[in-house]
Amino acid sequence: MPNDLTTFSRRRLLAGTAAAAAAFGGFPAIVRAQAREIVVGGAANFAPWMNGTVAQAFEAKHKAKIVYEGSRSLVNLEKMQKNKDKPYLSVVMMDDPVMILAVKEGLIEPLTPATVSNLAKLRPGTVHMDGMWANYLQPWQGIAYNTKALAGGFPAWADMYDPKFKGRLVIPSLQNTEGLANLVMAAAIETGKPIEQAQFEIDAGFKKIKTLKPNILTICTQIPQAMNLLEQGEAWAIPSLFSSVVIPREKEAPIKMSAPKEGIFVGPAGVCLVKGGPNKELALALIDMLLSAELQDKLQPETFAFPSNTAAKPPVGLAADVKVHNLDWAFVAKERGEWVKRWDRDMAM
């Protein structure tokens, strides 16, 4: 009598292998289906605090996990476009100009105070296009300066036109998000109007910023290069850099971030709900958490950014009454191509 335990047929072997493969392969899928998790798209450099502070707080409160995919705003937009019929991202964090494109393509759906309670507690100008997205923590823009060269600091944006800075200023290119603040501030100085109005009078901005040419050491697109020049003392100041770039270096090099008296600009960092994305309730809960004063305070030491929630504390080193300016990014997105062409001509050597 043949021993069934020791006799193998090829058919039995194949059937056994298939069953084992199904068991092992299927196992993680079952676990995934049961686990509460959402996939979030955002900037690559946000990964440390998204995977750390935010993920821990979210898991503790909602017993759910965040899978964070860090890349660039345009890449996130492409992921949403490519998966429009079956979205796998639930929440996306992108810059405002890219959000506008996402709205046009119907990739995101609006947030309301009924679903995201913290939406009602945000600063004016931080909820866009009837709630399609909101700004959470915004890196702020001021003037970075070399403390050895300028012991008295850099108290005003208007000071950058002082002839004593001949050949000592680096300004970011208009191709960079940072570069826009200088042009808008130039328009405000030239017209004498508040920034919120002057940002639409770019002709005046170009007229004024052309007079800055003798003071310009270079116009750069590479921010690390600009920081290198500042830290070495070849450049004395860089108007309109982001706090998240400068403040972490303050302890390592003789540089400091100034919040000039005319005010600071805040970066266009937005968060949105993906239309038809999985786990909508969890997605809304995460957005609400990112907009909460509690989490924004907790993230402050890691991000050096300006909170959008009015109940959150202002960043260390900034006065409580600091003037904060938001740019109209829809206007910027529409006009920027022409501005860059003009910038090349007007600011050439």
Binding site: T218, T221, L229, Q232, G233, E234, G337, D344, M349
Partner: protein, 282 residues
């Protein structure tokens, strides 16, 4: 009886050895180049020259073309002036010194352009080596910066491309029989005459190769001007990069790329023709 006809070179199986290189070039160079050409000549209504007409109608673009050509010519000239004698020194050096010189020339090629450009920033800045030296010898009254100037860009780029001038000239010089000059001298030719009539024509193929290499690379350099002179000095390469990467205007990017290619080919072919003429008339 008729002499046997020479076999066609196309029937020689050795030709097949070029197939991998040919396939590689067709796939990775010729096809993208055709795509680029097509993009610049095709508009919404079919074939058009409009992008080129628009480009040359703008005086700013003429300035960009001049910036591109001017810098490339200066870089090539500096490399030639420094590289030509260096190639002779290399060819005539003893074995140990020659190895040391070759290592010194070739090793920097393994250092990335970005690293070199950052190093040049240190050299060219106000308190850099060049400024200190010129103040030290009394040529400058006070320290000045060369960083973010056209001079600084030429110096930095020439340093990076110098090996591509030295090596082709060296490869020709080392094949020249030194007794030719001795023969000229015994016939009463003065040193300058010997150089102009004997040495220069014999080294022209290397010079032309060096010029072709250095000019092609200088005319299309992108990272070096970005780091050493910044956004205020536009070249065709930086304009092409901006059109594709920032403006997302593929037609403008393709147009500037094709103009750049035409300029590079024109100068390289022109210099080869000139060298042949000079060589044949010497």
């Amino acid at each position: 009886m008729k002499p046997a006809a020479a076999p066609s070179p196309w029937r020689d199986p050795v030709v097949l050895l070029a197939v991998p290189a040919l396939l590689y070039l067709v796939l990775l160079y010729a096809l993208p180049l055709l795509w680029l050409l097509a993009k610049s000549f095709v508009g919404a209504d079919g074939l058009t020259l409009r992008p080129y007409v628009d480009f040359f109608a703008d005086p700013f673009n003429w300035r960009v073309v001049w910036n591109t050509l001017g810098i490339a010519l200066w870089v090539t000239l500096v490399c030639l002036v420094i590289g030509y004698p260096a190639a002779f020194a290399l060819a005539r050096a003893g074995a140990a010194l020659q190895i040391a010189m070759l290592v010194a020339i070739i090793l920097p090629l393994s250092v990335g352009v970005v690293v070199k450009s950052f190093a040049w920033q240190i050299v060219l800045r106000r308190d850099g080596v060049i400024s200190q030296f010129l103040v030290g010898i009394g040529l400058w009254d006070e320290p000045q910066r060369l960083l973010f100037t056209e001079t600084g860009l030429v110096l930095g780029a020439a340093n990076i491309f110098l090996p591509f001038m030295i090596l082709p000239i060296y490869s020709v010089v080392k094949l020249i029989d030194p007794r030719l000059l001795e023969a000229g001298a015994t016939l009463g030719a003065a040193p300058l005459y010997r150089f102009v009539k004997i040495m220069l024509p014999l080294t022209l193929p290397g010079v032309v190769s060096g010029i072709a290499f250095v000019f092609s690379m200088s005319v299309s350099m992108y990272v070096i001007p970005s780091l050493l002179i910044g956004d205020r000095f536009q070249t065709l390469s930086t304009l092409t990069g901006r059109s594709f990467l920032f403006m997302r205007n593929e037609q403008l990017g393709s147009t500037t790329a094709v103009i750049l290619l035409a300029l590079a080919i024109g100068v390289v072919v022109g210099s080869s023709w000139l060298a042949r003429r000079l060589g044949s008339s010497a």
